[in-house]
Symmetry: C2
Subunit: 247 residues, 2 copies
């Protein structure tokens, strides 16, 4: 399983992903699910992946292969020279379709799901910062003012806190806290989501990675949030009035 959450705020983009992958309950591995590219000041792209690992790795390999060919002088379209962030999402959707066409039937014959989904975030100079969710069929949706966050993988445990806190006006400092609380709720409730985490923050208009870090299980800031939240929640809870006179 996986949990990845992305916020599209007026202030910028915040992405947080876990690193646990499992084939059944007894085969657990660690794989990065957050990937970033930048030409600072010009363009930044970040992806988060969920679902069948061979499918998402296949997509990443093709992205990197195209970037390598472009770097070697070939004139081909890549996620770093595409005309817009919308076009980057289209490219990811096309790569998704390619992978699904190649692998879906043989996987299904083995009773294995080929499902995968990818969150695409980024900004190019002169464009807006945008956040997309690409489905297994290659189609995609975009985060909007009404729903400024997108989730993939095990999304339910971490959704209530997002529903209550996140608006387009949420600051980046608040956003860091809220994605960590959302992740922490998921980690506590689903063993197939696990530390360490990967975090990326892109400030609106900067077209570069403002934060791009791994968060290990002993990270003091993360621990402070994780423990602090349980205490804060307990405190909040104690302020609620008694119900139906029961004290």
């Amino acid at each position: 399983m996986t949990y990845c959450v992305g916020l599209r705020l007026d202030a910028g983009l915040v992405l947080l992903a876990d690193t646990r992958t499992n084939a059944g309950l007894d085969n657990i591995s660690r794989f990065r699910k957050l990937f970033t590219w930048e030409v600072p000041g010009e363009r930044v792209v970040a992806l988060m992946t969920a679902g069948n690992l061979s499918v998402t790795q296949g997509i990443l390999t093709r992205i990197e292969a195209a970037l390598a060919r472009a770097a070697a002088g070939e004139e081909i379209e890549t996620i770093l020279n595409a005309e817009s962030t919308f076009r980057v999402a289209e490219i990811i959707g096309e790569l998704m379709r390619e992978q699904q066409q190649g692998h879906r039937e043989p996987l299904m014959a083995q009773g294995v799901s080929a499902d995968a989904s990818i969150i695409v975030a980024g900004q190019r100079r002169g464009g807006q910062h945008r956040l997309f969710l690409v489905y297994a069929a290659g189609n995609f949706i975009e985060a909007t003012e009404d729903t400024p966050f997108l989730q993939i993988g095990e999304h339910k445990y971490g959704k209530p806190i997002l529903d209550r806190i996140v608006t387009r006006h949420t600051t980046l400092a608040e956003a860091l806290k809220v994605v960590c609380v959302s992740m922490d709720s998921t980690l506590r409730s689903n063993l197939s989501v696990g530390m360490p985490l990967d975090l990326a923050v892109i400030r609106a208009g900067e077209c570069r990675l403002h934060i791009n870090r791994r968060i290990e299980a002993d990270d003091p800031d993360y621990l402070q949030i994780s423990q602090g939240w349980s205490e804060a929640l307990r405190g909040a809870f104690d302020t609620l009035p008694p119900m139906w006179g029961e004290t």
Copy 2:
């Protein structure tokens, strides 16, 4: 869909269920999912149901039919004269198996799930107050000191708050608040769970219903918790320290 949550605390049993049933997204109805019986001071039994409505209604009809026959003087086993609350769970499990045997294959042939699950709570005089979860196969588990709550239906959105707050030592007053917050998180995130709610509280040792009420959408105590929690959560959130220096 459905959300039902039951707590088994040292102080007693707390049960909360929604009332929304849907066959697809466009066919939504209201059906009670919490059912109670009591011989005050002698025995109390409460059930909460999730899953295929024809299956759970079939079980309830058989429970009521047995109670009616016993009331008419027939010497048969019912949930109100069974030797223990454990035996009550066994009876529900047997009725579940009967229903599954009768309906499972024809339902599956129609592509409809026959899955169902039932939370059984109760106490008889001289026994412990107990909380069970009966699965579609008729087998069941019991809430313990380590995991003092059980959920059926759409359980994920409402689980993080239970994980963080509920222990066997939680008071009944706190328990009322926590199940309402858990339900409120679920209502906000899943449209197929809906008001009104049904609440039952059984104090340990009393063998009677201490609270047994319907909570309508305009219930002032419920609204106070629902709105109060969003504000309390926001306050708790603001007490968290900034992460990685981002302010």
